[in-house]
Symmetry: C2
Subunit: 280 residues, 2 copies
């Protein structure tokens, strides 16, 4: 396993972790601390303006490690079936930013529906259509399986096995433009996780997201823990992804309405760095 | 598929559904409505007294469809490793009540532990020990996989596949004393569910629990919905268990702190009956 304690070469910050700061503040805060990769959200970029945001990243020498996010194929309206137009726009933005890839939160059940198989079929159809464009733009798509507790609300792809099945169906040759985002918060409980991680391999493992699972977790959306504060054996999971060939970044993504979002952004970054060294 | 609309022969009530009533009230309320099966909890029986509770069931002609619950193998203390003594007592009570089986909520992570594989190994060890006693008492054990959101807190067995793997390991000959409880709330999201249900077959499918998954679900423990009020396609899942050979009861188990527990118990029972006929 890689040694994370000596430098910050493998650390990335997802901007949702420091919601209390603007994108410009996050770029400055990361730059000042020697962090060299950031994954922004679309609303950050919209607010700053794409060209301006890109110049901030460039001037600071900070890589765009990902882009949040595309997907929601199941909850589109008639004007934009499978949300293809919206997803294409997002992918264009990711490409213009030079992002390493774009995460897909695939969408849950359409309003009023009980047809999860139908929703899953829509997801496959949507990814298939978007993948063609991803190849043109040369910006990879990352299917992010979300925790099963979010199956109805946000994403009906909930296990690494399922995400990989979709990858294998749509991209049997492992083109490099379709893979998965492995988030410890969503996947840690799965008894098949080690085997499926091995199956994923370097060709599909395109992102590794870290935070922690607190006990108790009252709010599954916005009560994530800082690495080391919960029950996930993060070094074990990192060992699995690295054994499977992953050599990318460890991206800190913590939604924390009652704790980390209420603190000073600089303090959050400092703790992220410390825990990256010791608890990831 | 069986037709549930014409009679109540396939309906069972878990006492947790009507927490506002005593066991005696529930027996009376079920008797008056023609419901012929109840699954009580240990605290109900302790409060009433086992012999007295048994006489209530007998006099009302009501079967004890299950017993809640054994398990928690992972959170035992030094005085009772794997909680074996406690589980034996629970199994003796179930047997004295003539219960069709005893559900096992296997336990989550021990306090302070991040070792979910270790917890799972403890669970297998605990079930193996208890299974011997179940065969002596002739009262089956039902592993109940709980939703992955409860992996840390309550049960580290979270998929039907995992529960069946344990059954096959410990009871390869399908003795009839080890099976699973299939609860739609815990399992509905799983893309492997149909295949694993088929795998389970009549020999392992020992209980079918119904309620519904509300959107949004803020509290994963005590915010279950009445059948028909959520996003689970319950008839589809019942079709799967019946196609696999299940011909047992549909047990209503709804934890609902803010809704059904606040209503009159008789009203809850009436709605359970109506929804059993139309939404299960």
């Amino acid at each position: 396993m890689r040694n994370l304690s000596t430098d910050l070469n493998h650390l990335a910050i997802n901007t949702a972790t420091i919601k209390q700061w603007s994108l410009e503040q996050i770029v400055e805060g990361c730059y000042a601390r020697g962090i060299r990769a950031i994954t922004p959200w679309r609303h950050d970029i919209e607010k700053a303006g794409l060209a301006i945001a890109r110049s901030w990243f460039k001037d600071a020498g900070i890589a765009v490690s990902g882009y949040c996010r595309g997907g929601f194929f199941t909850t589109s309206d008639e004007k934009d079936p499978l949300a293809i137009n919206e997803n294409r726009r997002a992918l264009e933005e990711a490409t213009e930013l030079g992002a390493a890839g774009m995460a897909l939160v695939v969408g849950g059940l359409p309003n009023g529906s009980k047809d999860i198989e139908g929703a899953r079929a829509q997801v496959v159809e949507g990814i298939a259509a978007l993948l063609e464009y991803a190849k043109v733009l040369k910006t990879p798509l990352l299917i992010e399986p979300l925790h099963p507790v979010l199956a109805a609300d946000r994403a009906c792809v909930n296990t690494l096995r399922h995400a990989l099945d979709i990858c294998d169906e749509l991209d049997p040759d492992v083109s490099g433009y379709l893979g998965v985002a492995f988030d410890v918060h969503h996947l840690w409980w799965d008894p098949e996780l080690q085997a499926q991680t091995q199956r994923a391999g370097k060709g599909r493992l395109m992102a590794f997201h870290v935070c922690d699972w607190l006990v108790p977790t009252k709010d599954v959306l916005t009560e994530r823990g800082m690495m080391g504060d919960g029950v996930i054996d993060i070094p074990k999971l990192r060992g699995w992804v690295e054994a499977a060939g992953f050599d990318g970044l460890c991206e800190v993504e913590i939604f924390s309405a009652k704790d980390w979002w209420t603190r000073d952004g600089g303090e959050v970054l400092d703790v992220c760095i410390a825990r990256h060294r010791t608890a990831v």
